[in-house]
């Protein structure tokens, strides 16, 4: 059977002082496991973008990270408002972030595009009013 390390993080809504802690923790664990700096950076950026999206838009949620020798899989699940138009949300520069979020330096509409750019696979399942689950993978040894 494949060796899998599974990590689960609960993401609190509207808590900007803690946003990024889950991603930082994963980064630290990957470093301990000897994963390459390039792969760690890809995972850290993609996961942080997802984490901050959950804080801003989705009333928090849960992130599961599975680490195998071949890949790092991230599953970000929330019960937020969902994404009405995924193609539009994937466009660089499109954002629905409110003004107070923009004043913190976010809301440039780069979150989902960055998540796609820094992962080898990304799938979005979303239902308006129900929630969103994003699955991403970063391949190792590749």
């Amino acid at each position: 059977m494949e060796d899998v390390i599974a990590l689960t993080y609960h993401i609190s809504p509207d808590d900007f002082t803690r946003a990024g802690e889950a991603s930082s923790d994963v980064k630290g664990k990957l470093k301990q496991l000897g994963v390459s700096p390039e792969a760690i950076r890809k995972v850290a950026i993609a996961m942080y973008e997802g984490e901050i999206n959950m804080v801003i838009h989705a009333k928090g949620g849960e992130i599961t990270v599975e680490i195998t020798p071949e890949r790092i899989r991230m599953i970000l699940a929330d019960v937020g408002p969902g994404i009405p138009d995924v193609d539009l949300a994937m466009k660089a520069g499109y954002s629905t972030a409110p003004d107070e979020i923009r004043s913190l330096g976010f809301g440039a509409g780069m979150g989902l595009p960055n998540m796609k750019k820094y992962t080898d696979e990304m799938k979005i399942e979303t239902t308006p009013g129900v929630g969103t689950t994003i699955r991403m993978e970063v391949l190792l040894n590749g």
Binding site: T17, A19, S24, K27, P37, Y48, L104, G105, F106, M110
Partner: protein
């Protein structure tokens, strides 16, 4: 140029000297929009910005920059300073505008 050499250059005030001041600075990055910095700040770069909130530190850590330079005299509050210490990040500050701060670092990097 290493982070320690940047500190020793005496141009900037040290807010916090991080864990890895022997790290080589391999580039320079200027941006205040965290959304952009997250995806574009090169690993190992010195990041010059005026965005001094706690999320700046999270972005710096995750994008793996070598250090942060707060320009335009921006002050960090206690919470942010504590976070920099907890994360082992080097944070410097200056009264200089972003361009002048970055130009000085560029001149040290490239002569």
């Amino acid at each position: 140029m290493t982070v320690q050499e940047l500190i020793d250059g005496g141009k900037f005030e040290t807010v916090h000297a991080g864990e890895d001041t022997a790290r080589e600075i391999t580039g320079l990055f200027c941006c205040d929009l965290l959304s952009i910095a997250m995806g574009r700040a090169p690993a190992g770069s010195a990041w010059v910005t005026v965005m001094g909130n706690i999320n700046t530190l999270a972005v710096a850590t995750l994008a793996d920059v070598a250090c942060i330079i707060m320009a335009e005299g921006v002050e960090l509050d206690e919470l942010v300073r504590a976070k920099a210490a907890a994360q082992g990040l080097t944070v410097l500050r200056t009264e200089l505008p972003i361009f002048d701060a970055a130009l000085w670092i560029h001149q040290q990097l490239h002569g």
